[in-house]
Amino acid sequence: MKRLFYALCVMAAAIPSAWAITAKDIHTFTLDNGMQIMVLEDHSIPNANMYLFWRVGSRNEYPGITGLSHFFEHMMFNGSKNYGPKMFDRTMEAAGGSNNAYTTENSTVYTDWFPTEALETIFKLEADRIQYLDIDPQVVESERGVVTSERSTGLENSNFRFLWQEVKGAAFRAHPYSWPVIGHASDIANWSLEDLKQYHKTYYAPNNALVVIAGDVKLDNVKALAKKHFGPIPAQAPPREVHTVEPQQIGERRVYAHKPSVSTPNLMMAFHVPQTQHQDYYALAMLSDILATGNSSRLMRALVFEQQVATQVFTYFPMSIDPNLFYLYAVAANGVDVNTLEKAMISELNNIAKNGVSAQELEKVKNARLVSFYNDMSTINGKANTLGNYAFYFGDYAALFDAPKQYENVTVEDIQRVARTYLRKANRTVGILGSQEDSHETDL
């Protein structure tokens, strides 16, 4: 297994192709207004993309305006000074492009894909909505309905999302990671226009953005267009820092939720872990893989194939600015009591904490990590997204090129250490989603 890793490294060094980029291929510059821009020239197809990472997510909200970051992800498509309602999508699609956007606890990201010749049009579109977004009261009301519909659809169709918001709410008592990214229903219904205007001014300032442009472009042209269209947008005072630190959890927390459509119980465990920039990030990422990535992973093998107490198992370990949660999720097999499933999962976690993992097991996930990494870097979209995420969460895109070495340096001792350190009872929140209320004869 070891051989494969070295083979990959050799290939990466030997193939001077579009996928095997190095830090030297990335060009960065900062406009006078503080907007940071990264450019990667890749001429493999006659297309390019622009990813705009905004340093605003649900962690920047507070009770009363929860979900506002996500709401802006919608509002940013609803018209600005020079491109009225619907004109953003219409103009981009007419130029042969398409777009999307997503919001996380930490960021709001806008993604544009387009033929190279549409580059200036994209700059114009983005600059206009950054500087001149039209927060029209009628549009705001309409968009509240869209987001309410999105919230209902998500909670109805996704047991994970349903349970996730319960577990987050219990695991965090102080930090804004406590509430769901989409926000509380009452906040969605009650944001004021003033809330929206202030939020846009504060967070959609050029000094709060990281822009990645990858594809069939020329650096000099990108620089000129960026200065022309993004340069005049005024900087704003830096947003308020999020200084709340979640107090250490000192005992297990448990939540029980119910939803009639649940066929077999769903189990979630969430453990507090450090932020992405912490030295344990890579070991935790590999622990996540060892536990539940692929059919040969620990939990899949034990819970799904051997003991047959679960039909589905996965882990969720998001990149994060502040200390966040390491999630384990399982769906009970037919007729299996959720307590049985929980005990089986805990037994597997204890096994790793007590006995560690084998060198072969670790090498397997190292290989998988590298293959996944190369997959991410195989398209211009993947390159832009990956570069942006590393720059965003590690503070420096160079971390991307250091990642293979960081993964290779993780040892079996590291895996055991992080399992012992973080996967402890007192550090976990357990959530159970069943079809009926968890009630007993002795309950009130």
Partner: protein, 457 residues
Amino acid sequence: MIMRCRQLVALCFVTTLSLPALAQSTPPPPGKPAPFEVPATQTFTLENGLAVTLIPYGSIPKTTVRLYTRVGNVHDTRGGLADVAYNLISEDGSHPKTQHSADKAAAMGGEVTTSVTEAYSTVEISVLSEHTTKALDLMSDLLAHYSPTQDTLTRVSETFARNMSIRATSPNGQASQAFGKAMFGDHPYAMPIPSQDDIMAITLEDVNGLIKQHVTANNSHLYISGVFDTSATQQAVMDAFAWMQSGTKNTFSTPAVAQPSQHFVERPDAPQSELRLGLQVPGPEHKDFVALDVMNTLLGGSFSSRITSNIREDKGYTYSPRSSLRVLPNAAYWAQGAAVTAEHTADSLSEIRKEIALLQADGVSDEELRGFKNYMSGLFVLRNSSRGGVISQLWYQELHNLPDDRLSKLMGMIDAVQPADVKRVANQYLPLDNMIRVVVGDPATVPAQLEALDSGE
């Protein structure tokens, strides 16, 4: 993470409607789409009849191996049989060559995955290029020595049954089931969700029989895309798949023409109603299909499409409206779907119908149409920009017996569609009186809305 709309790139829509008067500026005149060359391919046939297509693609040192076979849910002799049989391919069987397949694939940096649709199924492995020939051997072993055990069959069946029971109770599953039944009646394309009893009745004999009967050379096509040694790979394919029985190519019956109908499925206390509105249309072999595809993109298939603009952006009734052209061998249909807030169920249906009627009456301007055609051309480039994407496009061409040069000509065909074509196909293929309508919603509030809508109040 919450996304604005996760499925857009996979969709092809169309809309028709007057532009709002609110626009502060006119978009720049759309230009011509950039030229794009479909990757070159090399196809050969083994002595047993297995067609193999090699697609040297990209520069990342990975290879995707995907075997398509014309077997799907329409061939189920028991509900869910194809799904269960294919799910078992990546599980350990009793034959030594099928054991530890997950570890073997992981050692090559990959994973064995399978998929099942109405008409065809796939087995796929993506690996590092240096393991291409080993991946072919592994796929061959898993199929040649297919030997699931009873324990594994029981476990896989239970998991599948559970997933189906979840689907059967979801608003989307309820709507799809009712819509499929109305569209295709007793034809297998109706795709009823199999019951727990059906699935648990599947035997080893059933799954072995399906694989043996259908996974044959003449009924399959192997695609290899990525970076690989062409001659070594060709030889490896000939060695690995020589065992395959020739078999015969499956054909597909044509469903009867659907009649218009209206259906309401009760979902007590549902905060949203799940809508389907659609009808059968010609398939991709028909001369009007590309115009239909453009019309669909304009009507409901993109963010700026007319129906989406109306019921999402203007009215705020829904988060995820979409229209699509669903294509099956010898059948196709157009459908608009949306999950709308319960109180606006009738309003949403009314607006959808208005948009269709407006397109039929007034057509589309050349400028508006040009924008959607450019959008489709842009999507075409994106769809062909990955190893798997190219394979999917080639298989689509083969499954529907389209000319070999269809892909290379498609951008030109889209470009040739004129406003008169869009108006004509909207009138010819989307007559409002012929629609099938399905609504899943709250019986306490929605039927009264529908009654008022239908009575013209």
